[in-house]
């Protein structure tokens, strides 16, 4: 049985067009991906070896026990929070000093974390200039398996967080902090910290909320790192 020549030719032409269109659509994306590099984060020594709990639920993050996968950021992204000034809703911490939040020390041992009072509390990092924020990594306390409640991460160009506030992360499921209910997942603290996608949001200030934890009512920060691109 002879194949209709026209049909074969049409199929070839159609396939060719389809492949060409797909390539044309993908090329900019690929080019964009080529401009991205893996974010390198220096991790502190792990302080506990927990049994991995791979909980598959919409609002609890799985702990696989394996290293976090790579996170890509645009070329030129750098750590912009190191040694930057920190303010807080609790200006007189119970333990440590607010400067610990951006001092570059991420050890889970005693003497490396700042403890804020009970209830909803925030720390705020002033990056000293607007940046395009790519990633925020936060270590609350990682020498024990614990979960910090109502973690909310916001960025803004307004130091009072009244105007132009963008919420990048919110796992306050029942709105107990009063900033609106979030749908992000609760997670167990580890030495990897929690990486939050900055989505290239333009901001000068980063504010991080928490509301106690599963071990006690206090709020802790070992380190906060903000990776960003300068605004051109």
């Amino acid at each position: 049985m002879k194949m209709p020549v026209k049909l074969v030719l049409s199929a070839i032409v159609f396939s060719g067009l389809l492949i060409f269109s797909l390539l044309a659509a993908a090329l900019p994306v690929l080019a964009q991906e080529q401009d991205k590099v893996e974010l390198k984060i220096q991790l502190p020594k792990p302080m506990f070896i927990g049994t991995p709990r791979n909980i598959k639920t919409p609002n609890l993050e799985a702990v696989t026990g394996k290293p976090r996968g790579p996170f890509f950021v645009p070329k030129g992204t750098e750590l912009v929070s190191l040694k930057k000034p920190v303010t807080s809703s609790d200006p007189q911490p119970v333990i440590g000093e607010l400067s610990y939040v951006t001092d570059g020390e991420k050890s889970g041992e005693d003497g490396y974390f700042v403890e804020l009072g009970p209830g909803p509390q925030w720390v705020q990092v002033d990056l000293k200039a607007p940046y395009l924020i790519q990633a925020i990594v936060v270590w609350h306390y990682h020498s024990q398996a614990r979960v910090y409640r109502d973690v909310i991460v916001q960025v803004s160009e307004d130091k009072d967080f009244v105007n132009g506030v963008v919420t990048l992360f919110n796992n306050d499921h029942d709105n107990s902090s009063g900033l609106g209910a979030g749908r992000d997942k609760e997670y167990i603290e580890t030495n990897e910290g929690k990486l939050i996608d900055g989505k290239g949001t333009r901001a000068r200030y980063v504010r991080l909320w928490s509301n106690g934890n599963t071990a006690n009512d206090m709020n802790h920060y070992v380190e906060v790192e903000v990776y960003a691109l300068p605004v051109k």
Partner: protein, 534 residues
């Protein structure tokens, strides 16, 4: 000190001891063991059922002595019970310990008894475990009673003393089978003291009246005859009381024999203790110096350890030919032997040290009286006594009211986290939203060590099911609320878990539970919360 003044002082001490034991008695979340004991008692209260379990839970006195407390509180069911009612039992026996001290009579000076009562009344670990619904406060009260009555019987072996000895021994054994250690170490201490005082007495006699040795042998025989019948009464009472309790008052006679069979199990546990294994110096390290992480305060019983040491040294230095004066030496030997045995056994929990620590605190009372005697300046005495009271009070406050459930506290052991009460509170709030209220269906999926004290806190809910592993549960539905250990939650499938909103809560340090709430109930809960906040 005059008798009347001592009586007033003692009543004042009792009132202070009662206050520190009763104040905010329900502050600390129920411990795994407390909840377990509460459940056992609930069965006795509701159904009149109790059967001794040789594998676990120790003896029955705790449950039977809890009955009047529940009746007086008008609580007739497990669900109706409260923390205050149950812990009230421990408080009562914690106070009884102070009264037991009075039975030492002339063998301790009034000043020694007074200071010993202060130390026993305010001692942070003794107060802590007098607010804890386990056997320990009964065990210490009966244990110390036995130690004192044994001495009294030794000094005056008549039927009256024998009766008290038998009753205290029976109650002690019916509280914990492992009281054999206390029975053995107190008898050993008595034998050693007798031998030491007899040796001194004999060496004097040998030097002056060698010819009287035959006469003394006859005296000993006569003494033995005089002791035999009262001793038989004491043993009889010990057996009767033990039998009554272990046999559930004749319902299960097998229980009495089982209490002896339990020794092999407890022996195995003592030397294969799993994660309860601790080193030889564990107990003394808790008492000596303990500091939690961060800015945790120092917990230390150093002043009392030093005073106890002074008391022990004095007791031995003052060991007399006349054994009537050797009660302190006997108590010192008992405390040292008991501490040694408990320290050698690898299985250790903080509450096991109470029995010998109570002995040392009485010796600390004797030691402090001696210290006050050698200080000649009145103001210095007042300052020293004030400083000691301040330290005891401060430590008692830290241990029992400020760090009552935090791991920095040396006596906190596998304690339920305060965060767990948030889970309990959340379930309560959910039940107020759920159509079925307290009849909503709750599943608990967790191994036993991650389940307790949930059965205590969920005792008022009528539809609660317990599964020890996820494999036993085909589907989480139709449960509106599911509480799972993190390990068991990890075994559920993603699509199934999508029907639930989930949140972590801490059961104990490093142990997390997952509370899963069906989305429809969760949304109703959120709506209610929003409307109530407006």
């Amino acid at each position: 000190m005059k008798k009347k003044a001592f009586a007033y002082l003692f009543v004042l001490l009792l009132a202070a001891a009662l206050f520190v034991r009763l104040y905010r008695l329900d502050l600390r979340p129920m411990h795994h063991d407390e909840a377990n004991q509460a459940y056992k008692f609930g069965q006795l209260l509701e159904k009149g059922e109790y059967r001794y379990d040789p594998a676990d839970h120790h003896g029955p006195t705790l449950y039977y002595f809890s009955l009047p407390f529940a009746w007086l509180s008008g609580q007739k069911t497990y669900a109706a019970l409260t923390e205050n009612t149950l812990r009230g039992v421990a408080v009562f026996f914690g106070l009884l310990l102070l009264l037991v001290l009075l039975t030492s009579g002339k063998y301790l000076k009034t000043g020694e008894k007074s200071w010993a009562a202060v130390f026993l009344g305010l001692s942070p670990p003794l107060v802590y475990f007098s607010r804890f619904y386990i056997q320990e406060s009964l065990f210490v009260a009966f244990g110390l009673a036995f130690v004192i009555f044994l001495w009294r019987f030794f000094r005056k072996p008549d039927y009256k003393e024998a009766t008290w000895l038998g009753i205290s021994a029976g109650l002690l054994y019916a509280t914990k089978e492992t009281s054999l250690i206390v029975l053995a170490t107190s008898i050993l201490a008595l034998v050693v003291v007798w031998f030491l005082s007899w040796g001194r007495s004999n060496s004097r006699k040998r030097s002056s009246h060698k010819s009287e040795s035959k006469g003394s042998q006859k005296e000993v025989l006569a003494e033995i005859k005089k002791v035999a019948l009262p001793l038989a009464l004491a043993i009889f009472l010990f057996l009767v009381i033990s039998f009554l309790f272990y046999s559930s008052f004749f319902r299960h006679p097998q229980g009495f024999l089982d209490s002896f069979r339990a020794f092999s199990g407890y022996g195995q546990k003592a030397f294969e203790p799993g994660w309860h294994r601790h080193g030889f110096w564990y107990y003394f390290s808790l008492l000596f110096y303990h500091k939690g992480s961060g800015h945790s305060p120092v917990f230390s019983e150093i002043p009392f350890l030093l005073l106890a040491l002074a008391g022990v040294v004095l007791s031995f230095a003052r060991m007399r030919r006349k054994s009537a004066e050797n009660f302190r030496g006997y108590l010192a030997l008992f405390s040292l032997f008991t501490a040694l045995v408990y320290s050698v056994i690898p299985y250790k929990t903080p509450w096991n040290m109470l029995i010998f620590w109570a002995g040392f605190l009485i010796l600390a009372g004797a030691g402090f009286v001696y210290v006050l005697e050698i200080i000649k300046i009145r103001q210095a005495k007042i300052i020293l006594a004030g400083a000691l009271l301040f330290w005891a009070g401060w430590q008692a406050y830290l241990v029992n009211f400020y760090f009552h459930a935090y791991p920095g506290n040396p006596y906190v052991y596998a304690q339920t986290s305060p965060d767990f009460l948030r889970l309990v509170g959340r379930v309560e709030e959910l039940s107020q939203v759920a159509e079925e209220g307290k009849n909503m269906f709750i599943r608990v999926i967790a191994p036993p060590e991650e389940t307790w004290p949930l059965p205590w806190y969920l005792r008022k809910y009528t539809q609660v099911g317990y599964w020890t592993s996820s494999e036993q549960v085909e589907s989480l539905e139709p449960a509106e609320v599911v509480i799972m250990s993190a390990g068991e939650a990890g075994k559920r499938s993603e699509p199934e878990m999508e029907s639930y909103s989930t949140q972590y809560f801490s059961l104990r340090p490093e142990v997390l539970l997952v509370l899963a709430v069906r989305w429809d109930l969760w949304e109703s809960y959120k709506l209610r919360k929003i409307s109530s906040s407006r």
